[in-house]
């Protein structure tokens, strides 16, 4: 099996660095470009997890960054830019998902399996992914969103807390407890 990254990189820019960048991005195209490049992939991935296809995801990613560009002047320099950005992305994702699937609960948001080239590994991985899909199916939407923000978008706990209106410690505990529950069921299954 090929090696996997076991945790998303948390060592990004410091809050001070980012605050300067955000402030500069209001008037400096180069700063905005740097900010955009830093976040476009996590936002895209996060939205893809909601929408499940690249056409809709690209459309929504455009909308998110347009709103960010227009809202930068009013953005209050407190807390994390990523939290603000993903609050917008989350709101748009939920609205788009509802527009497209008015009769489906949010819990049915699409899942995307990983890829592998080894045929034998495909079979094993397929079984494991099915087991994981079954575990996800038992989660409620709030729990799925925690995992999306943490492991798909790669956000830090403080940022997730800001988006969901909870403290960093509470998010940390919630993610840990969720993983523990899932792991217990994983072992049983």
């Amino acid at each position: 099996m090929k090696s996997k990254v076991l945790a998303r990189a948390e060592a990004g820019p410091t809050i001070e660095d980012e605050a300067s960048l955000v402030k500069a991005a209001r008037s400096d195209p180069a700063a905005f470009s740097a900010l955009y490049r830093r976040y476009v992939t996590p936002v895209y991935r996060y939205l893809y997890k909601w929408l499940g296809n690249s056409d809709d995801t690209e459309d929504l990613t455009s909308q998110v960054f347009t709103e960010v560009l227009e809202g930068l002047a009013d953005y209050r320099e407190q807390g994390s830019f990523a939290a603000w950005l993903f609050t917008i992305a989350r709101r748009k994702a939920i609205a788009a998902y509802r527009r497209r699937n008015p009769t489906l609960p949010l819990d049915a948001a699409g899942q995307v399996p990983g890829t592998t080239e080894d045929p034998l590994e495909l079979v094993v991985l397929g079984e494991q992914m099915e087991r994981m899909a079954a575990l996800f199916a038992e989660l409620d939407e709030d729990q799925r969103e925690l995992l999306r923000l943490r492991f798909t978008a790669g956000l830090g706990y403080a940022e997730i807390g800001a988006i969901l209106g909870r403290s960093e410690a509470a998010v940390k505990m919630a993610v840990y407890r969720l993983l523990r529950q899932m792991h217990e069921k994983w072992e049983v299954k």
Binding site: M1, Y36, F65, G71, G79, Q111, M132, M173
Partner: protein, 830 residues
Amino acid sequence: MMDEQFISEFPKEFSETLLDFCEAPAPRPDFITGLEGQLLDRQPVLIAAERSRQTGIQNRWVRFSALFARRGWQYAALVLLAALTIALFAIGPQRVLAQVQRWLGYVPGIGFVNLAETQVLASPIETTREGITLRVEQVIAGPENTQVLISSPGLSEKDLPWPNKALENPDFSAFLVLPDGSRMEMKKWELSIGTGKLEFPALPTGVHQVTLVVRGLPLVPPGVLPENWEIQLSLRPASGELNQALFPQPYSPQDASDSHHGITLRVLDVAQTPERTALHYQVEWADPDWEFRFGLGSARLPELRDDLGHIYWQSPGASNSSVAVVAIPKSKDSQAAPTPFPTSSDGTIVFPALSLSASQGTLWVDALEFQVPVEGSFTLDLGKNPQIGEALALDANLEVAGFPVHLHGTRLRQETVNMGDGSNERDASIVRTVLEFSMDPPAERDGFSLNRFSFTNGKQTIYGSAGMSFSNGEKVYRGQLEFTTGKVPAGKIELELIEASLLAQGPWEASWTIPGRDSSKAALPVQLFPQAAATNKPAGELRPVVEEAFLSDRLTAIKLNAVGLPPGASFVQALPYDPIYFDPNHRKVDLYLQDNWGRRYDPGRNEAFIRPEGEEAGLNPGWMFFPPLQPLAQNLTLHVPGMEVFKPGEASFDIQVPPDLTFKPQETTVTVIGGGGPERQITETMWVSDLWPVDISLDLAGYPLHFTQARIERDEQSDTPYTLQLNSDPFAVDQGELHLIGLRFAKVDMPDGKTIQIDPALENNGMISFPYGGVGPLEPGSSQVQAGVGLGVTTADGADLLSGSYHVELNGVTEWVPGPWELSFSLSGN
């Protein structure tokens, strides 16, 4: 801090699959570049527009600041005033109100709702089958969700078989069918017997008609009542006139706020209906790292008060609405730029209806709780070979959220916890291995106190929390550490703080003027002081008298006292029956009020009360509360079957509680009244020690008592599980005559050196559980009775039996004085 990368602690197979599952593809490189170009093309236009806006603001501000050289807070007030003035001149004051209120409705059962872009039912719709009715009370179909309130009028828990399987497994099912035949599944629901609040996703644009399909009525077991209900719902866009006709119109009080320690409590909106008063409140604080713990108040319930002295507690019947999601219109700007860290939280709380004569309302809250971030760790040494039942020498000092904390007095134990209820109780018990300890009460600082905090070890196999809790009406500080694997490690364990909550001490009192009320024309409460209450007993005899009456549109309050009392004795309360001969199967209440038209008013049916003595806590049992009188009442008669009086006396005794007692289970049958079902008998297991003989003779207020037996009871579900029981030799009482019913205690000296002083005011209110002393018949209805004493004998940390010598002092008895009496008085004051 806890390991940020803790997913690596799980087996690789699990963590890799999880990350694979959460993986999503990266965007195409040409998409990234293309979007970047579009955004950068747009940026200069936005920058130019923003500079123009900023210049305009700055110019205006320069003029303002040149005219008014003021301090910072005055600038802020000036800006707010200017903004308000501009708004008023632009659209007129009446229209400001209309703009705000047009889309804000209060929907009983749901809460304050933003009715913009919302469809509603113009009137309730119902259908009846086999004599059973299902009614859709209201539908609020908004941009966020579709909420449906259903009810089955007339259906009560008494109509259903019991135990109610549907209550234990509420597999309630309902869905909406759209015009194109597609189904919309329910997202969540709240059910009680006969009512339900169902939430579905938002309806697609253009859908005005849906069919609600309900498989079974809320909490009705399958096969009992008609099933598969279908009701067609025609929705109409919410509009100003329709809203006014359907929903009580809330108002926004001016300056209804109170601030302490940088925390503000505001009442944003008020909806008053004939049945209830709903408040939309907001709590605002400064620190973005803090999180408000939803729910107002700590040691005491939040209160709604009015200027007439009425006090209202949160309506139990409206509890569903008190947790309703509140949706208040927000401006487009605020949606475009959400505050990254919210520093305010709002909610809805529902009280009974305010008095029609009240011109001012006040929301009173004793404290507010916040979760705050914590960092740090501390070490506990469990020794080389920790054993269950062992007391460990712990003396740990740490700092939590700036508060010094001292932990001590540790004991390792296993406990059995019931996780279920009803018939599941026995199947759902689990055994937990826990370390219990005591904690010194943390000092209050700048209006804040440490409420609770939690911690874990690095591998997250040990969790603990400590802080304040209430036991027997008193604050206690203790903590518990749970070993989730059941295994207790030897040696030192490092524990990391996870989170803490602080209590901000108030009280907060947010007051407002109720619009449209003219206090000069209001019907004010009437206070009467009947000087010579007429009774059917001759004067000079020991008897109750009506000392004072308070009559309003929300309640009737009567204060009783007694005349003919012996020296030192005092009136306690009127009683509906002789407590020795209380029969739970025959609870006819003969203590009631009656007017001259024969209308009866039962005590305790009032929705408001008063604190006429100015007491902040507790209730004086001498005051009785009844519903408000009918307007035509001219005379009142209070029917009093008997009363309790206190008679002073002095006595004391010492009792030795032995260590190393063994306990055996004893099953008892308990009658459960309320709690989600009709009255029923359940079997409970109490752990008891063997009886041991004692010889305690007392002469208390003229009553000779001889206690001969003692034993300890252990109740695993209690915070103070160990109770000493003393039983006396039997003695005879005459049911129709004055006799002993209770023992009153002054203080208890405990073996650990502590002394418990008994506050007689609290004892009168029944707020002290231990010690207690009473009298009961040997057999139901028998005139042979036995005195008993219950004394709490649990260690301070709540973990174990506190053995040793107890010194108990008593200061009197209470007696049953049989009536009946009929106390009549005129409402004209004569």
